[in-house]
């Protein structure tokens, strides 16, 4: 994925979430704003052979993976035109046919599932990488240890990507996790690992490419920690606990502005080009909203559909 495409993908996520926040009628949402570079950089290292699982903070991962914004918006607004017919909603987006195996909103809950998907792919001799994005909050769970252990033992094609935004709802990382660097958790399992600046999409992409190449070679799992910033509250329904002064510094680290500035400095991005990208993502988001809002809510008669 070229540098401009990285920028556009991040801009789409931001614009999409801004539009979504103007539609509070379908309950709270889990936003990826601030963490766009983690999703976009990771997905830039994945191919159509690969699949992605994520935590419930899934808008960034889903859009970065290339899911159509219209159906994603429909899913988040509870409409049947969503890939999960509006049943998964926030936290449970999924479209396996598009390389997005899905989100799962139990913290750490997708880690052993991802290892299982990787086990199936290994058993079937499929060539792809199974990537799983999870938060720093999941690093305190036993599921991560268990998943890393079997993945390393059995050389499963699993790329673990920790989106370390520093917060478990209101609890700061330092009060929840003992290790200094979360990528150090991979060390005893002898899997290659890296910690990168998760606000730098190029750094994330390059590290993800290198680690994905290791996984793709059949040598087993790898672990990438991306240190990011959560711009919004944990969910749109939770309270902000960070002081305003601190928030200003956090928002100043915007991964989109940072990447755009780099491209401008390189001469790749002009004012006109940027305005064009902004128009394009705004149009895409407007189309997505129209698509979603024109689709119906599920029929209550379908409440028992696909239960067993």
């Amino acid at each position: 994925m070229d540098a401009l495409a990285l920028l556009e993908s991040m801009m789409l996520i931001r614009a999409f979430e801004e539009a979504l926040m103007r539609r509070p009628d379908h309950g709270f949402q889990l936003l990826s704003s601030g963490e766009e570079a983690v999703a976009v950089g990771t997905c830039a290292a994945l191919t159509s052979d690969d699949t992605l699982l994520s935590s419930g903070r899934s808008i960034g991962p889903a859009l970065a993976r290339g899911l159509e914004p219209g159906p994603v918006m429909a899913e988040l607004l509870g409409r049947t035109a969503g890939p999960c017919r509006g049943r998964g909603g926030r936290g449970h987006l999924a479209q396996p046919s598009a390389g997005y195996f899905g989100a799962h909103a139990v913290v750490g809950g997708n880690l052993t599932i991802a290892a299982g998907v990787a086990l199936a792919w290994q058993a079937e001799g499929r060539p792809g990488v199974v990537a799983c994005i999870f938060g720093d909050g999941a690093c305190g769970s036993g599921a991560l240890h268990e998943a890393m252990n079997v993945a390393a033992l059995w050389k499963l094609p699993l790329l673990l990507v920790c989106d370390n935004n520093g917060w478990s709802v209101s609890t700061p990382r330092a009060e929840a996790l003992a290790p200094e660097r979360l990528s150090d958790l991979a060390a005893p399992f002898r899997m290659p690992s890296a910690t990168v600046d998760g606000m730098d999409v190029v750094a994330v992409r390059d590290a993800a490419l290198a680690l994905a190449a290791h996984v793709r070679s059949g040598a087993g799992p790898a672990f990438l920690e991306c240190v990011s910033e959560r711009f919004a509250t944990h969910s749109t329904a939770t309270r902000e606990t960070r002081p305003q002064a601190e928030m200003a510094a956090i928002l100043a680290r915007c991964p989109i502005r940072r990447h755009a500035a780099r491209l401008e400095a390189e001469g790749t991005l002009t004012e006109a080009l940027r305005a064009g990208l902004e128009r394009d993502v705004a149009d895409t988001v407007a189309d997505a909203l129209r698509y979603a809002e024109s689709a119906p809510f599920p029929d209550v008669a379908d409440a028992l559909r696909d239960v067993v």
């Binding site: 809950g109 599932i113 299982g116 990787a118 058993a123 036993g142």
Partner: protein
């Protein structure tokens, strides 16, 4: 044996019935794999996976770390991605460690993805009291029956152990297959032309006109002993083996209870929110009024102390007493 013709039935131990079903399923379907503690060369805690490692190798019959959350998670994830794993959780008590991937992911996967994915995994586990103490003895199948998307089966005979394993492996979603420590010493006949036991179908094990005993798993044998003693007292018991706990075959219990006019439920687990409570309520819903009594464990942990273990789980005495109490004019 030097018989000239193949007999129409063969007799086998309970564990052999499980191993045979798995051997047949694995021969037929490369998607079936076995994951769990001691399932490989060791052949399973109760030899129920005997011969599978030799026949299918360590990649399809795979020993796992003793880490039930990942064992179930691996099975559910691999099922979602196209395999048909059987995950062995040695004792049902340990299934608690694996409930998150089973309940929060596997059981909800078809629903939450709008039918895009399913998790056809069989979690096979062993319940029941047999001298192993407070955290190796529990019958907690009733905890599972209220989970939408989850099926629960509990065979009581080798034929059903075979037939329900085959049926479970043909499901599109997760099935918890609960066997019992005290059933492994038992043997029984399996017809050569047996077919899978349909999930959701109970069976009448013993005919009798005076009272219906609805039960499952090892308690079917306890019910049978009680029925022998009651027969000597002139009371004829009908025993319904539920076989599947989710979905429950309420109709078969209702038909029997409508005939006998009295229903005793019997389970080795706790009575509070138990299988018996569910069966009794649903039978009453359908039949209007019904004399009902429940028999189950004392509301206490199951000790490894043999005196306390025997005191805490139901035996024939409690069943006889419950039946006589219910039928007392």
């Amino acid at each position: 044996m030097s018989s000239e013709t193949t007999p129409p039935v063969s007799k086998l131990f309970f564990a052999e019935a499980i191993a045979r079903a798995l051997h047949e399923a694995m021969s037929r379907d490369p998607r079936v794999i076995v994951l769990g503690q001691d399932v490989g060369r060791y052949g399973g805690p109760y030899r129920e996976f005997s011969g599978l490692h030799a026949a299918f190798g360590g990649r399809r019959v795979r020993d796992t770390p003793v880490a039930e959350a990942s064992m179930v998670g691996l099975g559910v994830g691999a099922a979602a991605a196209g395999l048909r794993p059987v995950v062995s959780i040695t004792y049902m008590d340990f299934l608690l460690l694996g409930l998150d991937p089973l309940v929060n992911y596997g059981a909800k996967l078809r629903y939450k993805t709008g039918g895009q994915l399913g998790a056809p995994v069989v979690v096979k586990t062993t319940a029941g009291a047999r001298g192993q103490g407070v955290a190796h003895s529990q019958c907690i199948e009733s905890w599972l029956v209220g989970v939408p998307g989850l099926k629960v089966v509990a065979p009581s005979t080798p034929a059903d152990a075979w037939g329900l394993m085959h049926a479970a492996l043909q499901e599109d979603g997760p099935v918890v297959y609960v066997d019992h420590k005290r059933l492994f010493p038992t043997a029984g006949e399996l017809a050569r032309d047996a077919v899978p036991v349909p999930i959701g179908r109970a069976v009448v094990r013993r005919r009798g006109a005076d009272v219906t005993i609805a039960t499952h798993s090892y308690m079917c044998r306890v019910a049978d002993s009680a029925a022998d003693r009651l027969a000597a007292l002139g009371v004829a018991c009908e025993i319904v083996d539920l076989r599947t706990l989710a979905p429950l075959d309420v109709d078969t219990v209702c038909e029997s209870a409508a005939r006998t006019g009295a229903l005793v439920t019997l389970e080795e687990g706790q009575l509070a929110c138990g299988i018996g409570a569910e069966v009794a309520y649903r039978v009453r819903e359908k039949t209007g009024t019904m004399r009902v009594a429940r028999v189950g464990a004392l509301p206490a942990p199951v000790s490894s102390n043999p005196v306390l273990e025997a005191a805490s789980v139901p035996g024939p005495d409690e069943v006889v007493e419950a039946v006589r109490g219910l039928l007392r004019p």
